[in-house]
């Protein structure tokens, strides 16, 4: 394997930001998805939702302008854009579970070819995993995209035939953006849409735990 450079986490976020059109209401999970907020092109109005009751939050404030009452779901200090609003938790999750968000982007431990997502418990033995809003977002939003490294740190595939980790939700993932490729989840298959320059189909397949389909790839 040589001749290609995997995307950095920031580059994965920037790649996803390209695909979010103006006017969408979007929830960004913790990890790579959080970085998307800073990558949305200047002037494109995308409204960001936070579980703790905010629509329209903006970037982190300058350290001397921190407002202790204004945090996002990752408990980081944020700002509010003009047109932003506050609401309580039941309304916030009515927004999520009522199907009002256009998109959520989540991290993943594993995604299976039928769109199952595992991103909350690290093992079946983990008796105190933190689920937060992940299960609500995964079943409630109109689209679920995953942002993740293509493999674990020790090289195990995260895109698999079926998830070994405890599930967050069944059959919900529509698209996966990794450091190597953009892959749609369509009718129980992983369909590769885009790969980093210089990466061969064979190399991508080797790092994936189930069969990839390439015939519909838009850019090679």
């Amino acid at each position: 394997m040589s001749g290609f450079t995997p995307l950095s986490r920031k580059q994965i976020a920037a790649r996803i930001a390209q695909d979010i059109p103006e006017g969408w209401y979007v929830n960004l999970g913790i990890g790579i998805p959080t970085l998307i907020a800073d990558a949305i092109p200047e002037g494109r109005e995308v409204i960001l939702h936070s579980e703790n009751g905010i629509l329209g939050f903006g970037p982190a404030p300058d350290p001397d302008k921190i407002d202790p009452w204004l945090i996002n779901a990752g408990k980081q200090h944020v700002t509010l854009r003009p047109g932003g609003s506050f609401f309580h938790h039941a309304d916030s999750f009515a927004i999520i579970r009522g199907g009002h968000l256009d998109l959520c982007v989540l991290g993943a431990f594993e995604v299976s070819a039928n769109g199952d997502l595992a991103n909350w418990a690290t093992s079946a033995q983990d008796s105190a995993p933190a689920v937060g809003g992940a299960m609500d977002l995964a079943v409630g939003t109109k689209r679920v995209w995953v942002a993740t490294e293509h493999t674990t740190r020790d090289g195990k595939p995260k895109l698999v035939e079926s998830c070994a980790y405890p599930l967050t939700a069944q059959g919900v993932v529509g698209r996966i953006y990794t450091n190597l490729a953009v892959i749609d989840v369509t009718e129980g298959r992983f369909v590769v849409r885009e790969m980093v320059p210089g990466l061969s189909r064979e190399d991508l397949q080797k790092q994936t735990g189930t069969r990839l389909m390439f015939e519909e790839m838009e850019y090679a």
Partner: protein, 233 residues
């Protein structure tokens, strides 16, 4: 004259019994009624079931209540986070029961209790281990899990401004679980950052109408117990 303000926390929490279920508002430290939690520690009730989004961090608030041995069980969505060492220690030692509830289901179970709805169906958790043992039902070809309302004996709330009738407004993301939990307690005690003259709260902007509130304790800025520099009020 209706006046829900009580002079101190000891009076507000004096009759909390052992074995009570207590809701605690807030998300992380924002909107968490820390002074009321301190009051609960001083009051001494034990064997408590706590309903909150998080299981406390550091050594203040919920973490302090748990460390002092007052909590038997916690119902929350996100027990583990940076600094949740007290929870980790008690849980791994088998000294704390835990019920994990997805955040939206937690909010809706609380809302349902406040609205007199005994149970409801949701798609959240279908096909996951959090749905194990729960009744499911199909509506229009989709499977849903039944979840039950979640009541509390006492709800502890933090508000930004209140009046003597108990009307509340909140500040920014401090509203979070507070406005929902205020509806779901048999008794709702508000820690208010400031009391205003009756008529000063814009009726169009009141978030929690006073009917949901039983007692208000004013905790001004200088006595706020909070890790954030400068306090929250």
């Amino acid at each position: 004259m209706i006046d829900k303000e009580v002079p101190n926390i000891a009076e507000a929490l004096g009759d909390v019994r052992d074995g009570s279920t207590i809701m605690v508002g807030g998300f992380g430290s924002v909107g968490q009624p820390d002074a009321l939690i301190e009051g609960l520690i001083a009051q001494g009730a034990r064997d408590l079931t706590i309903i909150a989004n998080n299981a406390g961090t550091g050594m203040t608030g919920l973490a302090k209540l748990m460390a002092a041995g007052h909590v038997r069980k916690i119902i929350c969505s996100f027990p583990r986070s940076a600094g949740s060492t007290v929870f980790e220690e008690l849980f791994s030692a088998g000294k704390l029961e835990l019920e994990i509830v997805p955040q939206g289901t937690l909010a809706e179970r609380i809302r349902a209790a406040g609205a007199g709805i005994p149970a409801f169906y949701t798609a959240t958790t279908v096909g996951t281990r959090l749905a194990e043992g729960k009744e499911t039902r199909e509506f229009s070809g989709r499977t849903y899990v039944m979840e039950r309302a979640l009541h509390a004996d006492v709800a502890l709330i933090e508000a930004w401004r209140t009046d003597r009738m108990g009307n509340c407004i909140y500040r920014e993301s401090g509203r979070n679980f507070n406005a929902v939990m205020a509806m779901a307690g048999d008794r709702t005690v508000v820690q208010s950052c400031g009391m205003v003259t009756l008529g000063m709260l814009d009726p169009e902007a009141v978030v929690t109408p006073g009917i949901f509130v039983d007692q208000v304790v004013v905790v001004p800025a200088h006595t706020q117990i909070n890790e954030t520099a400068g306090g929250m009020c």
